[in-house]
């Protein structure tokens, strides 16, 4: 939802294919957080997510080197699909042994990026983000899946419906229930209108 400045992804890819490592670095800087966040929300483990993040970019590099890349300039949807598929594959394989590292949140959120803030502000933000993430983890799997696919993977509800085998209305309904649940819990926890997030 944020506006992007600088060269388009397609331009960076063309430059990288012509030998510019700096162009690839910018591509990584631009997308790594969104990809990583999505993977963490699916696999619930920071170390695994970092491993899968590397797998995603190995696949990106291999594809770009092999000239198979043909996404007509739509790099982000493609790379997010790659990330989603790898994360889901991992999640399915490890489902019998779920690893939830959230309670050990210090590690998970140490790497959050913050602007210039006081220690107290930072702590409040960390706590809020940790709480929101925990609430997402608490959602029923079908609702969480739609929320992650729509909000973090940027898939349309039409695409989500196709990938999950439900109607668009069902996908929308799951998103709605997810939001209702989150809102209710946020109100209970009094974090919906945190002043550090909504400064006056």
């Amino acid at each position: 939802m944020s506006k992007r400045i600088g060269p388009k992804d397609s331009e960076l890819i063309a430059q990288y294919r012509n030998g510019s490592d700096a162009a690839f670095d910018l591509l990584v800087d631009r997308h790594q957080s969104k990809i990583y966040t999505t993977i963490v929300l699916i696999v619930k483990d920071q170390k695994v997510a970092e491993d899968l993040l590397q797998d995603v970019f190995v696949k990106v590099v291999n594809t770009l080197h092999s000239d198979k890349y043909n996404e007509e300039g739509k790099f982000q949807p493609w790379v997010m699909r790659v990330a989603h598929n790898l994360a889901i594959d991992h999640f399915r394989k490890s489902k019998r042994y779920p690893v939830i590292v959230f309670e050990d949140g210090s590690n998970l959120f140490n790497s959050l990026r913050f602007a210039e803030e006081t220690v107290e502000d930072r702590q409040i933000k960390e706590d809020t983000i940790a709480m929101v993430k925990r609430l997402i983890d608490e959602l029923p799997e079908a609702q969480k899946e739609v929320l992650v696919m729509r909000h973090y993977l940027d898939l349309s509800f039409q695409e989500i419906a196709e990938q999950t085998g439900v109607s668009i209305n069902t996908a929308l309904g799951r998103m709605r229930y997810a939001l209702i649940y989150l809102r209710k819990k946020m109100k209970q926890l009094n974090i919906a209108y945190d002043k550090t997030i909504y400064p006056q």
């Binding site: 939802m1 990583y36 590397q54 997402i136």
Partner: protein
């Protein structure tokens, strides 16, 4: 005449997956129906919270990815 909109319509609207004609009708409904506007604002604030969840991988991993891309050897750390 006001069209009856559902919560699902609000979600389609927030994520910009609604036709322009329907968007126009919904915007009119938002202005005239207080409860719909309230629901819309609450959904927006919840979705805004989701935006806060933005995690960063470690610097070591990002460096490894870049180094991998710079070389032909695809080594993971």
């Amino acid at each position: 005449m006001t069209k009856q909109f559902t919560h699902n319509d609000l979600i389609s609207y927030i994520y910009q997956e609604m036709t322009e004609a329907k968007q126009e009708l919904l915007m009119q409904a938002l202005h005239s129906e207080e409860s719909l506007m309230e629901e819309y604002l609450q959904m927006l604030s919840t979705i805004e919270q989701l935006e806060q969840v933005c995690l960063q991988p470690s610097v070591k991993v990002v460096k490894a990815i870049k180094a991998m891309a710079h070389s032909t050897g695809l080594q993971k750390v």
